[in-house]
């Protein structure tokens, strides 16, 4: 009974931290409340840059590998390495070799974002019916026209699905950016001395909420990306 009460009270304090400002434990600066908005902006900016780099690399590469039918080995290999290496290890390695700072953290997170996007783009293109591609070629479409008009539109839901997975990964992992000297919503989680227990829990809740919001947003985008009519008949039969 008292354990439950204690959890509820911790939770209450964390929520209070999210919505109201207070002086930091060491004194001197305001934390919580609107101060979190700044951290949120940093967090989203870092995630967006990392995701953009990941998309810029993985989508064209995945499409090219899928279209040419080459590099099954490469696409699958990268996807599996991505799955096997824990994100924290990846980032630690990155800092060890390249140092800290926004650009390096963004690159490390981009590296984390690439495998799911690459694998999905590759698979999405390969899953387009061979007969559909054969017909497109047989009617006189050039390679780039086949990609643009046939393969990419049909692969788009899977491509966006890969971006969705990566976006959630990146948003969640960006919480460890302060370890490398870059501001994000991870600050209160890592700097216990400044924020205290309620700050750690409060920031964790915000990170989780942002991850869920990202998932929902990209899930919606994925549905909008589907070029096929909904399974419900548009015309009564």
């Amino acid at each position: 009974m008292s354990a439950l009460a204690s959890i509820l009270s911790d939770f209450g304090e964390a929520l209070e931290f999210i919505f109201t400002e207070r002086e930091s434990r060491a004194g001197g600066s305001e934390i919580g409340g609107t101060q979190l908005l700044g951290l949120l902006a940093d967090h989203l900016a870092l995630s967006a840059v990392a995701l953009a780099i990941g998309i810029a690399v993985a989508v064209p590469l995945g499409i090219w590998l899928g279209h040419t039918g080459r590099g099954t080995f490469l696409a699958v290999g990268i996807a599996n390495v991505g799955r096997a290496v824990p994100s924290i290890a990846l980032i630690a390695l990155f800092f060890a070799f390249l140092g800290t700072g926004f650009v390096n953290v963004a690159l490390a997170l981009a590296l984390l974002a690439i495998p799911p996007i690459l694998a999905n783009a590759y698979v999405g293109i390969r899953l387009v019916e061979p007969d559909t591609v054969d017909a497109a070629r047989g009617m006189g479409m050039t390679g780039p026209q086949i990609v643009r008009r046939v393969e990419l539109p049909l692969a788009l839901p899977l491509v966006v699905g890969g971006i969705r997975t990566s976006a959630v990964n990146v948003v969640a992992t960006a919480a460890i950016a302060p370890l490398a000297g870059v501001s994000s919503l991870g600050d209160p989680i890592i700097a216990f001395g400044v924020y205290g227990e309620s700050g750690r829990l409060g920031a964790s809740i915000v990170v989780a909420a942002v991850a869920v919001a990202t998932e929902v947003t990209f899930g919606l985008a994925q549905r909008l990306a589907d070029p096929l009519p909904s399974t419900r008949r548009t015309v009564p039969a």
Binding site: T132, A135, A136, M139, P229, T234
Partner: protein, 327 residues
């Protein structure tokens, strides 16, 4: 304007295929407006031969001329835009409506938008597509409807030459028969040379002006009209391929009106009349189940014009065959 097509000593050798070519030294000429059916068992290279015409497969040696011009001198994509292309599983774009699919090639050729839409509607009508289906997606259509759209799509830019690879092969027998019938009528209305691939000799006889029978290994066994093929098979392979029932197949190519009829007076009572444009094969089936072996024949308006007797059909087959042929 339909194109003339000529294959000159065409050979296709796939690397690492153990030395056996897929198509071996194939030469044949298709006159403008003719439908040439390539038929043969699996491994006879019929699809490969067809795909070399629009360079979906590049030949190892020999040449293919369309209206005297080698296909090797054209850019492949540009060449294909002027050759209709229909494949067995249609390959419609699932994310495009029926009309958008039909308009594919005109769009690639840069036609203005209104002309593309007008042409797509015209073609949909020509192949007998229900106008209600114009804005449906392929996933919302039946196999037969999809294949109609496939044929309309191939004809959209009025190609002088059209390639069809087993277009009716994946359909159920009833739909296939129906579409074959429509295709026979369609051929009369569009002026295009057609190369049609099938493994079904009955389909070849029904739809082809000329039939090229290929044997395993991609050699030409015989190139002739359906009638010649059935009457004078070049060798044992062709004879076996066209089947033991080739007399019946010949009857299928003839109509009641091709026979001498007996005078009207001899009509036995109670026999159902048959129209004179019925195929002799169907007429024979009816004659065989008629107790007297005699059927009243009427013209298209239903007027009695004579009586067909079982002996007449038999005699007709013998006359057609002419002097006893070797084999």
């Amino acid at each position: 304007m339909p194109a003339a097509l000529e294959l000159q000593n065409v050979t296709k050798q796939y690397p690492g295929a153990g030395g056996a070519p897929a198509v071996a030294d194939l030469s044949l000429r298709v006159e403008p407006g003719e439908t040439c059916v390539l038929v043969g068992p699996s491994g006879s290279g019929k699809t490969t031969a067809m795909r070399m015409v629009n360079r979906m497969v590049d030949m190892t040696s020999g040449d293919i001329l369309i209206d005297g011009r080698s296909v090797m001198r054209s850019d492949p994509a540009e060449l294909r835009r002027h050759i209709g292309y229909v494949i067995q599983n249609v390959g419609l774009f699932p994310h495009r409506t029926a009309l958008q699919n039909i308009g594919t090639v005109p769009q690639l050729l840069g036609w203005p938008r209104e002309r593309i839409v007008a042409r797509a509607r015209e073609l949909a009508d020509l192949v007998g597509l229900d106008p209600a289906l114009a804005d449906r997606y392929p996933g919302q259509m039946s196999g037969g409807q999809r294949q109609r759209v496939g044929v309309a799509r191939a004809l959209a830019a009025d190609p002088p030459l059209m390639l069809m690879d087993e277009p009716f092969g994946a359909l159920d027998p009833i739909t296939r028969d129906h579409l074959q019938g429509e295709f026979e009528r369609l051929k009369e209305r569009v002026s295009t040379t057609i190369v049609f691939v099938t493994h079904d000799i009955d389909e070849a006889i029904r739809l082809g002006d000329r039939i090229a029978i290929l044997r395993e290994g991609g050699g030409l066994a015989q190139y002739a009209t359906p009638g010649e093929l059935l009457l004078h098979p070049a060798d044992a392979f062709v004879e076996e391929f066209v089947g033991a029932d080739r007399a019946l197949k010949r009857l299928a190519l003839m109509q009641v009106s091709d026979c001498e009829l007996e005078p009207v007076g001899a009509v036995p009572a109670g026999s159902a009349a048959m129209r004179d444009d019925t195929s002799l094969r169907d007429a024979l089936a009816a004659l065989l189940s008629d107790p007297d072996g005699r059927l009243p024949i009427v013209d298209a308006e239903g007027r009695p014009i004579g009586v067909l007797a079982l002996e007449t059909v038999h005699a007709k087959l013998r006359v057609e065959a002419g002097a006893p042929s070797p084999g």
